[in-house]
């Protein structure tokens, strides 16, 4: 296996945000709609759902879908207004 130095740094970084309890992707998916609604209502979902916030920080595909969902909902709202 070939490992780059930047990978070693990424591994180290990932260890700084590794928690004993983390959500899996499905567990995050189950809660992300509620998280997004709270965020859009100006509340602080990270206070109530810190594990969701943690998961989207750590997991690129889940973060990508979270960000895409925000864009999609903005567009729907703009159209409905």
């Amino acid at each position: 296996m070939k490992i780059e130095i930047t990978t070693l740094k990424k591994v180290l970084k990932s260890l700084t945000i590794t928690e004993v309890e983390e959500l899996t992707c499905s567990e995050c998916f189950n809660e992300i709609d509620q998280y997004v609604d709270m965020l859009r209502e100006g509340k602080s979902p990270a206070d109530v759902m810190p594990l969701v916030k943690h998961h989207i920080t750590l997991c690129p595909p889940c973060r990508e879908e979270f960000e895409a969902l925000l864009v999609a909902l903005e567009a729907i709202d703009a159209d409905l207004e």
């Binding site: 130095i5 070693l8 740094k9 990932s14 879908e65 895409a68 567009a75």
Partner: protein, 208 residues
């Protein structure tokens, strides 16, 4: 378009399905998908989003009983549509790239550890900017299973999304997440055992 309550959505999309509700939801999903995909898809955006919306609608109707009402119904439905679309886009992007290829062909410079012996045999060793990468390198080599190592390198080095790595390793995204989570916890502990420092403290050495 009528604004509906969650209860109205669920009722109208359960058997017998209300055609107007179905067509309204389809329109909503299409708008959301188009907006979120417009900067990722250059050609045939409309046709592609139509397909994704159709797949998403089927999924939504099939799982409507699992909607717990903890969010707006349209948020819940849209998250399913986004998931359908993005999963498929990731699959298309990575389908022809093998795991072997991704872990054996780094794009940047390959790291060559200076000390080939395992520093774990010498726990008194002081950690410095010079040897920390040898330590991490050795941890990856000796503390992880082959599957853990492959998954971590494919994701962190190859940039392959976890669901695509899972598919190629004949497992699912959740099982792979757990495997990697276990690997990170193992490395976290190993780093402390080997250096007497937490990952935060080690990282801070580079950020001074």
């Amino acid at each position: 378009m009528n604004r509906r309550t969650n209860e109205e959505w669920v009722q109208q999309l359960s058997d017998p399905i209300d055609d107007q509700a179905l067509s309204d939801l389809r329109e909503i999903l299409l708008r959301g998908l188009r907006a979120s995909l417009s900067n990722r898809i250059n050609t045939d955006l409309d046709a592609i989003t139509e397909d994704f919306a159709q797949d998403a609608l089927l999924k939504i109707l099939k799982s409507i009983e699992t909607f717990r009402g903890e969010s707006r119904f349209t948020t819940w439905a849209q998250k399913i549509a986004i998931h359908v679309a993005y999963t498929e886009l990731r699959r298309r992007r990575w389908k022809d790239i093998s795991l072997q290829e991704i872990v054996e062909t780094p794009e940047g410079d390959e790291y060559t550890p200076a000390i080939l012996t395992d520093p774990a045999t010498n726990p008194e060793q002081e950690v410095s900017q010079n040897n920390i990468f040898d330590i991490i390198y050795n941890m990856i080599e000796s503390d992880l299973t082959e599957r853990q190592r492959t998954a971590i390198i494919a994701i962190l080095q190859g940039g392959m999304p976890i669901d695509q790595v899972a598919e190629k390793m004949d497992t699912n995204r959740n099982a792979l997440y757990k495997l990697i989570h276990d690997a990170r916890k193992r490395l976290q502990q190993s780093l402390e055992d080997r250096t007497g420092l937490t990952a935060h403290e080690v990282l801070a050495m580079f950020e001074q």
